[in-house]
Symmetry: none
Subunit: 232 residues, 2 copies
DNA sequence: AGTGAGGGGACGCAATCGCGGCATTTCAGT
DNA sequence: ACTGAAATGCCGCGATTGCGTCCCCTCACT
């Protein structure tokens, strides 16, 4: 099985050169240039290993790591630009599995990756599967792996945020989710967006479903509480 | 419920400008210009969140944080004047929840505050589990997680306040609850409303149940005392 | 019978929500 | 790099809903 690696760095040069090396080694690579983007990408479609730069715009490596670790045991390798030992130590304390100082040889990186994947294999987190498992709720089907959504066998084209929100709702049909909880699910705990923004996405979701099925009403509003995906 | 924020900085300009912003956002703000003063103030009357400058006379931010953390888990945001990364990292290690570099936009600060308060809320009380537990009393079922209420298998649509009141009553069937006690259960101990307001909610509750079951009489009035959910 | 508490209708205010619209950001294709 | 389209976040308005209070009448208790 072909392994997927997330590569997160704000330096475009590193992104391209490293990803070329990794791909030559037979890995498929997904690159992100900042932490927030990476968090969403990885949440949406999991990877087997992540390589993170410590310093990045919007959400730095440590923050990203903390967020990722809340839901998975994803193996992580840190990149440190300075030989700033505090960074390294802290990174490891936070749960990184390994770190590499820049500049580094591609050869070293490959070695570390292999070692880490081997170790991860033996543990093989069962929860990792759950994240990208297909979700079927009556007429609704969500396939995170393909980022596909169907309603009564018709495809519905959802954006990333919409997909994450709908999955959070449909995961526990009948359960109320507050806007804050939905925020956590779609953005991670450290990001705050306006309450109205959640409403906006719900609005867009409802519209997309209603466009193909005028009777769609599975997403309910509970006044003063939040939203709920109808139980059936 | 109005949240209180402690703002600690030795720069008067920051103190005034930031506190104006926060108050405009609906928080009540207490300002301190040095760590010692802040420590005494916060110890004496707790706050929901603290924003601390790292460098201050008498007792600096880190020291203050350590002292505060001895007794509470108060969420803390650090302000750092220099992009002195060691400061940041050390702050986090000591247990700060977040940090912001000066100069910062007011918008960013608000965003962080909200994110932090949101997280603090969910961790908050140990009663959280109990709060979400399903309550079954004969023909009555209350499921907070789904925000659903059923009477003899028929759904009853309740508002948040009604739900809280009914749960408070049904939790101990046969026990009388005074209006004050019910108030505490539904609003928290700090808010006081007219006695008759409770009556109004009870009235609405009774009506909703009577609409689907003319014989409903589980909510009893104890003249001059309070209300009681019938024991059975 | 008198007194005061409670039931219930009605009303106005406040909170909440849905939605259109706008500005900015992101991303893919040239 | 440039550009146009898509996505995203936010704002604000109007509409809806919930809430607190008032008032009047009834009923319970003395």
């Amino acid at each position: 099985m072909r392994r997927t690696i997330a590569l997160v760095d704000d330096d475009r040069n590193i992104l391209t050169s490293v990803s070329m090396t990794l791909e030559a080694e037979g890995y498929s690579v997904r690159t992100y240039s900042d932490g927030e983007e990476a968090y969403r990408g990885i949440s949406q479609k999991p990877v087997d290993l992540a390589i993170l730069d410590i310093k990045m715009p919007r959400m730095d490596g440590m923050e990203l790591l903390q967020n990722l670790r809340k839901t998975s045991r994803l193996p992580v390798i840190f990149l440190t630009s300075k030989d700033d030992e505090i960074d390294e130590v802290l990174g490891l304390r936070l749960g990184a599995d390994d770190y590499i100082k820049k500049p580094f040889s591609q050869r070293l990186l490959i070695e570390r990756i292999r070692a880490l994947l081997r170790r991860a294999d033996s543990l093989d987190d069962p929860r990792a599967r759950k994240r990208d498992a297909m979700l079927v709720r009556g007429d609704l089907v969500l396939d995170p792996e393909r980022h596909m959504c169907t309603w009564k066998s018709q495809g519905v084209q959802l954006t990333v945020t919409e997909f994450l929100l709908l999955r959070a709702l449909a995961q526990y049909p009948g359960h109320v989710k507050s806007r804050d909880q939905l925020m956590d699910a779609a953005y991670g705990e450290k990001i705050y967006v306006d309450d109205r923004t959640i409403d906006s996405h719900i609005k867009r979701l409802r519209r997309k479903f209603r466009d193909i099925d005028g009777d769609f009403s599975e997403i309910e509003t509970l006044y003063g509480v939040g939203y709920r995906y109808q139980d059936n």
